[in-house]
């Protein structure tokens, strides 16, 4: 068995509204917001990056899980905005939570699903008794070229999950669906990603998320109504709602985990923050399906059942954390993103 022992989430406190970005480029904010179902997005502080966000999430996870960080045997940080191209973010996290030196650590990259790929690895290491606890983090300070459609959603945030044998939520199973689909990329040395525009939809996001979800439910013999909560990767607010509908999930199953409309797409953090938000409110016995999506492309699907241990677990209150925010204008946004440096 493998279970979630603890989780921690972190989203920087700065926000920019879609209408502020639209104002700069002479676009109609209302149509963008309704088209994407995103109203504002998080912005990292000038001194924040994927490493500092990962550390915040990791420290919260350790604190709430009440474990000795020295017992963490593996740390994986999934991101597409690691501060270094070569030199791991994971070692910074390991040092900052005092998990060093007896552990393995590595950085993952698989667009927006690198964090859940890390979770799968931790599950495998725990199940095979190679480690007692593993930590998987998905975090990003997502890049978007000024003026690009991505600019309305590319956000900052991350979540950390500690995986062990027993915990607040058992991971019943996980499967993946993977193909070579170049819907979104960032070339080595380039500051901003490129994408296939509408190609990122049907043949990319929808195909992979739906196949992964169906495969998992087929394998376990479950149906959408068996789940109390569903979390699908959130590149915008619309896609997860549409994919839920197509798969036969109801709106109320995805509501609690849907953070994108108020924080944007936190890339590798996205589905993991969604899961964290669900664990904040779930009850013992609640069943959750989580399906991530990473461009390039692939989806990891997880079937999770919340245990009795959730009752004595001090939950973080992610939505409360999100209330502490400060809006910035576009020029400040560019300064915070260090675009002028």
């Amino acid at each position: 068995m493998a279970a979630i022992v603890g989780y921690g989430a972190y989203v920087p406190r700065y926000r920019i509204k879609v209408e502020e970005i639209a104002r700069i480029w002479g676009k109609q904010a209302a149509s963008i917001s309704s088209g994407l179902y995103v109203f504002e997005k998080s912005v990292p502080g000038i001194d924040e990056d994927t490493a500092t966000i990962s550390v915040e999430a990791a420290r919260r996870a350790v604190k709430h899980a009440k474990i000795n960080p020295k017992e963490i045997g593996a740390i994986y940080v999934g991101s597409e905005s690691h501060p270094y191209a070569v030199k791991p973010t994971a070692t910074i996290v390991a040092e900052a939570i005092e998990a060093t030196p007896e552990l393995t650590a590595a950085d993952y990259e698989f667009a927006c699903k690198a964090g859940t790929a890390g979770m799968q690895n931790c599950i495998a290491l725990v199940k095979s008794n190679m480690i007692k606890y593993g930590m998987a983090i998905g975090a990003d300070v997502a890049q978007a070229a000024p003026g690009d459609a991505l600019e309305y959603t590319a956000a900052a945030g991350g979540a950390a999950f500690i995986i062990g044998k027993e915990g607040i939520a058992e991971i019943n199973d996980t499967i993946s669906f993977t193909t070579d689909t170049p819907d979104f990329w960032r070339r080595e040395g380039e500051p901003y990603p490129g994408h296939g525009e509408r190609f990122t939809g049907e043949p990319a996001y929808f195909k992979h998320v739906m196949n992964a979800a169906k495969m998992l439910m087929e394998k376990l013999g479950t149906k959408p109504s068996d789940y109390d909560y569903a979390v699908f990767h959130q590149p915008n607010g619309k896609f997860p709602m549409r994919v839920a509908k197509k798969l036969g999930f109801e709106k109320k199953q995805i509501e609690d985990g849907l953070l994108c409309p108020i924080i944007g797409n936190t890339y590798s953090g996205s589905s993991m923050l969604g899961l964290a938000a669900v664990l904040d409110v779930a009850k013992a016995g609640s069943r959750i399906i989580v399906v991530s999506y990473g461009s390039g492309a692939g989806s990891d699907a997880f079937d999770i059942t919340v245990t009795d241990k959730i009752e004595e677990y001090e939950r973080q209150g992610i939505r409360k954390m999100l209330e502490n925010k400060e809006y910035v204008d576009y020029a400040t946004y560019m300064k915070l993103r260090r675009e002028f440096e």
Binding site: R13, I46, D47, T52, P83, K87
Partner: protein, 134 residues
């Protein structure tokens, strides 16, 4: 700045690990090599001691003309902070408006980027402070 100089301070810079005198019990941060009270008696008895990260602003200023490494980051608030363990340090206050900062404000440590060796060099992380939740 060479990377070794940064690297050797990582425990203190990331996790506020200072020193506690094994003789008199006084806690020091930044870490000290000898206890100025016990001096030779403290030699070999200065133990690692992790601060809680909580403290109080004793004085503060807004840096508007920054050193070259901090260009593009100003204005920012620097404060003299009394840690709950009784020692003092100098740190930046982040995540609140300048007007909010006041003497007596409770703060807690977080990890942030401090500076970097240009675009190609290493990134140096370390403690900064934000308004405490309590």
């Amino acid at each position: 700045m060479g990377v070794a100089r940064y690297w050797r301070e990582i425990p203190a810079r990331y996790n506020l690990i200072g020193k506690k005198c094994g003789v008199c019990g006084k806690v020091y941060f930044p870490p000290r090599i000898v206890c100025p009270k016990c001096r030779r008696k403290s030699i070999g008895k200065m133990e690692d001691y992790k601060l809680s990260g909580k403290g109080t602003v004793e004085s503060f200023t807004v840096i508007r003309v920054p050193p070259p490494e901090f260009e593009g980051k100003s204005p920012y608030v620097m404060a003299l902070i009394k840690m709950d363990e009784g020692c003092y340090l100098t740190g930046q206050i982040v995540d609140c408006s300048i007007d909010e900062v006041h003497i007596g404000m409770r703060v807690e440590a977080c990890l942030r980027r401090i500076q970097e060796d240009g675009k190609r060099g290493a990134i140096y992380y370390g403690y900064k402070f934000r308004k405490a939740k309590e």
